[in-house]
């Protein structure tokens, strides 16, 4: 059952992204102005990059070992279980850090409504027209809160299995909830990856360098670009 749902969801997500790429294409960065030339804007601090790297790495291990157990080993045991547990601890720490650091910046504001009305920031419009957005656009905020909710579900279910409160069937339900939450998280992360690497090219640079080109910032997060420029970031 879970394997079937897994295949359907992942296939749907991948096909959806492919269709989006073919019909709407990537949201390209606007041409550099003279003012933008050679200038970069700091998008992620060192701490934020660390949190993001921890989240990304641990999630890859968690998803890899979880899927490996399902498709290769048939059960989560041995080295895969060990890696899953270790990565789980890192993921929990990173998610908590992400919540503390980014939750306030992911609160929806009226500008997000405008961004959504603008064809989800122009992602569902063929023309290269951008909608103004803050540091995080409404799409990123949706993904953030989904990640938070699903991440919480995976942590809470495992925490509950460690308590002597649930019997055999209760434990099985908790593990199922854990797996389905993890699966949805995989879909969310796939969308996040697609948006970062293909739909909004150039965003990935901030993961490593912490900075993005001023043109990119102005194109995709105009309001935040203006604020950052004023602050001198």
């Amino acid at each position: 059952m879970f394997e079937t749902v897994f295949l359907i969801l992942i296939a749907t997500a991948l096909v959806g992204m492919l269709v989006h790429l073919l019909f709407f294409g990537p949201k390209r960065t606007l041409a550099e102005t003279d003012e933008d030339r050679g200038r970069t804007v700091r998008r992620l601090s060192r701490l934020e990059r660390l949190i993001h790297a921890m989240l990304a790495t641990s999630f890859l291990v968690l998803a890899g070992t979880g899927m490996g157990a399902m498709w290769l080993a048939g059960e989560l045991g041995g080295w895969m279980l060990y890696a899953h547990v270790l990565a789980g601890a890192i993921f929990a720490a990173a998610l908590t850090g992400a919540m503390i650091r980014w939750a306030a910046q992911n609160v929806f504001i009226p500008l997000d409504l405008l961004w959504v009305r603008h064809g989800w920031g122009g992602f569902f419009r063929r023309a290269d027209r951008h909608a103004p957005a803050g540091r995080f656009d409404a799409g990123q905020k949706v993904l953030f809160w989904l990640t938070a909710t699903l991440g919480l579900a995976t942590m809470l279910t495992i925490l509950l299995t460690m308590q002597p409160w649930f019997g055999y069937r209760g434990q099985a339900i908790l593990i199922d909830l854990h797996r389905y939450a993890g699966l949805l998280l995989v879909v969310v992360v796939l969308i996040h990856l697609y948006a970062t690497l293909l739909a909004k090219p150039g965003a990935w640079k901030s993961m490593f360098r912490g900075r993005v080109s001023a043109a990119w910032a102005r194109s995709h997060h105009e309001s935040w670009h203006n604020e950052a420029t004023q602050k001198g970031d």
Partner: protein, 649 residues
């Protein structure tokens, strides 16, 4: 008008035809009845009173007062109502028939010879690691004499098989070794299995059911007829020693010459124990009153409450994969999980729900489900509580428990140890009993090792074997395969050379004599003893299911560290031979090796559990913070949304 003569003739012919047809039909009916006796059934839950006329092996009614009275035959007596041939296909009797799935490996017979140091697991069931009696030259006659004490099987062990003529066999005078129904079905425990063993050694095979039940006695032994031509005893004119007549105990017979058999259709636990007993032995063995019996027995159940069968005697073995192996889902409902958890694969709703025999549904609170995927129920619930070293164990089948002996000490071979936590045939870790094979054999060019019968080894090596007994080997288990020759190795090399010289004519071309011992294969090469790992040296393991401990004594009841700790026997217990404990020459493994786990992982996993409480606190903190942030901004977002709706209004 017809002549009266013709009329009379026709009438006579018609009469003859009627008589002939009637006789033919009667014969046909009799033949059909003989070929397939219909099982009789009272249809009541009340046990049927078995007040029976006794029949001898030829089907003649027994007169207990006759001076030459023959022993009663279960085949002919019980077979009057019960289909003996169908029963003979049941689990206890069909090992050599090769008609059923061999299923989960079980306890084999052990061919033991102290002089050659042989300890060879043998079975006809093709369990991996066992050898067939035939491959070791054991004829049905020899097998019956060696193992008939605890083996209720008839053909081919109870009578001549398809093997070459056995000059030692004396079936003509000993009679058949029939299935002895009362060995299991005696309700008053009058049946004496030790007497069965005694009569077996006296070669009084066909007298066993009569004497073991106390129905009569025999004063002479078939084995005493050895000096004479045994067939001569069958000749009425023969004046030498006669086949032993039975002196029946006439008090057992009623006025009509019938005997009351106190029969239980479901055998008593005590009857099962004759063949299925085991005990821990050795200097550290607990005294008997310190031990608990199986929790099911303590609750008033008996073996046959779970190990059920119908008249076909296809007894439920009770393990979880049995339903798949036999394509009979109902069998799964009598496994541990089937009774205690239910089995969705069964159509019958009551069976699917579990609770058979009043089995309680376990809660298993706080135990992650992975445990149920990789462990059998018995891993936590059965057998002795695991300790740092395995214990030597003796069993009925291997050591003849149930038959009093002054020769049996705790060091009597075969060497069997328990409990060994190892991966079973279904891939789940379960407690097992274990024995290391030890024998001289031939390494064939295809890599297979074929054991040599101990008697053949003795014939070839003779006095050279005595030097082996004092062998004091200082090898380490993890030593490299190639070794320098030493005085300790020389006796083995000598025996291997003697086997090569004297027995190679009967061996396959290119076969090399080897010794399987201490978990390794040894062979001589240029005056040196070479030791290698080989599958033939792997230990033979069979799962143990009993005694089941109460839930309060299950592994894990004190927490995860019952198993997940760096000193937990479940992972790090030492598996040695019974008598070689602490002797570096004897094979030693750690339990995790038998779980097929890597040592680093086993240690890392165990060490991780030292930090588990801290991990729980950490995870709780992370979850709480994440939850609070979500609630905080969730409520805030809800407030904003409601405010926006209000503004719009």
């Amino acid at each position: 008008m017809r002549s009266p003569r013709l009329g009379e003739y026709l009438a006579s012919l018609g009469g003859l035809l009627v008589v002939g047809l009637t006789a033919g039909l009667m014969l046909l009916h009799a033949w059909a009845g003989w070929a397939s006796p219909a099982a009789q059934d009272s249809g009541s839950r009340q046990p049927y009173k078995h007040i029976l006329t006794l029949y001898d092996a030829e089907g003649r009614i027994i007169d207990p007062t006759a001076p030459d009275a023959r022993p009663y035959s279960p085949r002919m007596t019980c077979g009057q109502c019960h289909d003996y041939d169908s029963i003979a296909k049941g689990w206890h009797f069909n090992a050599a028939a090769h008609t059923v799935s061999v299923g989960r490996p079980g306890e084999p017979w052990f061919l033991v010879d102290e002089e050659t140091g042989s300890q060879i697991p043998i079975s006809d069931r093709d369990w991996p690691g066992t050898h067939t009696p035939e491959s070791l030259g054991l004829t049905p006659w020899e097998f019956a004499l060696k193992f008939g004490r605890h083996n209720p099987a008839p053909a081919p062990y109870g009578e001549p098989g398809d093997q070459p003529d056995d000059p030692k066999a004396r079936w003509e005078v000993s009679g058949r070794l029939e299935i002895d129904c009362m060995m299991c079905h005696s309700a008053d425990t009058r049946y004496d299995p030790a007497e069965r063993a005694r009569q077996l050694q006296r070669q009084n095979f066909q007298w066993i059911p009569t004497v073991a039940m106390g129905l009569g006695r025999v004063r002479t032994d078939v084995r005493d007829l050895e000096e004479e031509d045994p067939l001569a005893a069958l000749d009425p004119a023969y004046e030498g020693p006669q086949l032993p007549p039975v002196e029946y105990n006439r008090n057992k017979f009623d006025a009509q010459g019938r005997v009351f058999f106190d029969v239980r259709s479901r055998p008593l636990t005590e009857s099962c124990y004759h063949c299925h007993s085991s005990r821990q032995v050795g200097p550290d063995a607990p005294v008997r009153w310190h031990l608990e019996q199986d929790v099911h027995l303590a609750a008033g159940m008996s073996c046959t409450d779970c190990h059920r069968n119908s008249i076909d005697h296809k007894i439920v073995r009770g393990h979880e994969t049995e339903a798949i192996e036999t394509a009979d889902p109902a069998r799964g409902t009598l496994s541990c999980a089937g009774c205690h958890l239910g089995d969705d694969q069964v159509d019958h709703p009551a069976m699917a729900l579990g609770g058979r025999g009043g089995a309680p549904h376990p809660l298993h609170r706080g135990i992650p489900p992975i445990h149920f995927e990789i462990l059998s129920c018995t891993a936590c619930h059965s057998g002795p509580w695991p300790e740092q070293h395995t214990h030597p164990v003796q069993t009925s089948m291997a050591h003849g428990l149930g038959i009093s002996s002054t020769d049996r000490t705790w060091q009597t071979p075969p060497e069997i140890v328990a409990p060994v936590m190892a991966k079973g045939h279904d891939g789940k870790i379960a407690p097992h009993r274990m024995a290391w094979p030890s024998f001289w054999g031939w390494l064939l060019p295809d890599g297979e090792v074929r054991p040599i019968a101990p008697d053949q080894v003795k014939g070839a090596a003779g006095p050279l074997l005595s030097a082996l007994a004092s062998r004091a080997d200082g090898d380490q288990a993890d030593e490299p395969p190639a070794r320098d020759p030493s005085a300790d190795d020389q006796p083995i090399i000598d025996v291997l050379e003697a086997i090569s010289m004297r027995l190679s004519a009967g061996a396959a071309e290119g076969a090399v004599p080897v010794l399987i011992r201490d978990g390794y294969l040894h062979h001589a090469e240029e005056e040196r003893l070479i030791r290698k790992e080989h599958s033939a040296g792997e230990p033979y393991l069979w799962p143990l299911a009993h005694d089941v401990r109460p839930a309060a004594q299950s592994l894990g009841v004190r927490g995860c560290t019952d198993c997940h700790a760096t000193d937990a026997p479940f992972y790090f217990g030492m598996v040695s031979t019974s008598f070689g404990q602490g002797d570096p020459a004897r094979p030693i493994k750690q339990m995790y090796e038998l779980h097929t786990q890597q040592p680093v992982l086993a240690r890392a996993w165990a060490m991780a559990f030292a930090t588990r409480p801290a991990f729980q606190v950490f995870l709780f903190a992370c979850t709480l913070v994440t939850l609070l942030v979500l609630v905080r901004y969730g409520l805030s977002g809800l407030g904003t949304a409601l405010g926006a709706v209000a503004d719009r209004r």
